[in-house]
Symmetry: C2
Subunit: 234 residues, 2 copies
């Protein structure tokens, strides 16, 4: 009748240690660190429960005592890297604070390119995510708005960083995995687009293609876009 609760619980609601039985050999932090290392070095597609277990030095199925589903492993990873945020005492300028935070987030995603792929379905509120949110609310103290709006702002900044950096990463990844040089890729890309546009079905795209020269510096674009987003909440 009582039994334990049905399966799909948030991992953070589980106590890390229950008291009964032998004490766990690894902490969540150990596991997260191992997983992050593998994802950093070999890419997120190469991350498997087997590899994490191997790196920890335990049997594959032992890992399932700590991490009920692979999805929860992602949750651990996101929490772990969220701990990398340097969150000092915020100033009164919430715009500057949010912009600086966005830059931190971008740097983090460039450091851990798998983050955008793994963050989207994250639903639980891990300790470090709570810490992050708490800091944001602190930084937004000088913004006179209801909490709902503040959360919308935080989500917007987060989302914008994610999509922007995702594009950056996709381009970089493609450049890396391609057998030819980025310049040649750029040229091939342009040639392909010009071929498509040549049919005359896309006159405005043709014009745009003619105007747009260099793709522009990524960080510059990032900053400009984020200023706009933040400005939308002033």
């Amino acid at each position: 009748m009582a039994g334990r609760a049905a399966e799909p619980e948030v991992i953070w609601a589980r106590p890390e240690r229950t008291g009964r039985g032998p004490k766990p050999a690894y902490s969540r932090s150990d596991i997260a660190t191992a997983a992050v290392r593998i994802a950093d070095e070999e890419g997120i597609d190469a991350l498997s429960m087997r590899k994490v277990a191997a790196l920890l030095g335990c049997g594959t199925m032992s890992l399932y005592n700590y991490v009920p589903r692979k999805e929860d492993l992602y949750e651990l990873m996101v929490d772990a890297v969220s701990g990398e945020y340097e969150l000092g005492e915020p100033s009164d300028d919430w715009r500057a604070e949010m912009l600086a935070l966005a830059h931190q987030a971008r740097a983090m995603m460039l450091r851990h390119p798998w983050l955008p792929r793994v963050m989207s379905p994250v639903y639980g509120f891990s300790p470090n995510v709570l810490r992050y949110l708490e800091w944001c609310l602190g930084a937004l103290e000088s913004l006179d708005a209801p909490y709902g709006t503040k959360f919308e702002l935080i989500a917007m900044v987060n989302g914008t960083v994610m999509t922007t950096v995702s594009n950056e990463l996709a381009t970089a990844e493609r450049a890396r995995s391609l057998p030819w040089s980025p310049e040649r890729e750029q040229a091939a890309r342009r040639a392909y687009l010009e071929g498509q546009v040549a049919g005359g079905s896309y006159p405005r795209l043709a014009a745009a293609l003619g105007e747009a020269a260099a793709p522009g510096d990524a960080e510059e674009t990032f900053e400009r876009v984020l200023r706009r987003v933040i400005g939308a909440f002033a």
Copy 2:
């Protein structure tokens, strides 16, 4: 020496028919339709090359004549649903047009919940994506800005829709897969958060938790956020 080009080409650069050999039994559109159907009905995780082939009625490996890598299947799918946009003659009010477009995009993602998961790494410019971009440029004719800015606007709108709807979908998916009612989930969630916050480490979150009552209507939130984003480009 000459040989064919090295592998990772954009699928749209491949001609659908080369002229030599027996004529293909299926079109890209056939394949895309089949894949979309499976993803719609069984979820994106259940989508496999085998299933698509089976639905088409051909051997698994035959599919690889049309779709060199599974990633390309995603590309076909995104193109296929991009064809669902209803793109009429735009008015002079670019803000209204972009907002309406965003609503279309949201509806599309609710119709095809796998879209956000699959769109991110899309890199190629498929026919329907070109059509979409061309239309956007048309709708933005009355906006006096360089093409670069217009593309940034389009990307921002797209990105915002994606992240917003992703959240919606995650919540909905969770509610669906959970063994208990959404109300109970909501309560459990709140209880968990209150438990975390009770420690006193997150005073502002505690306050926010006290204030925020109902989560608010999803579509309403969507519209509000998008108005803000679009407004940032005025």
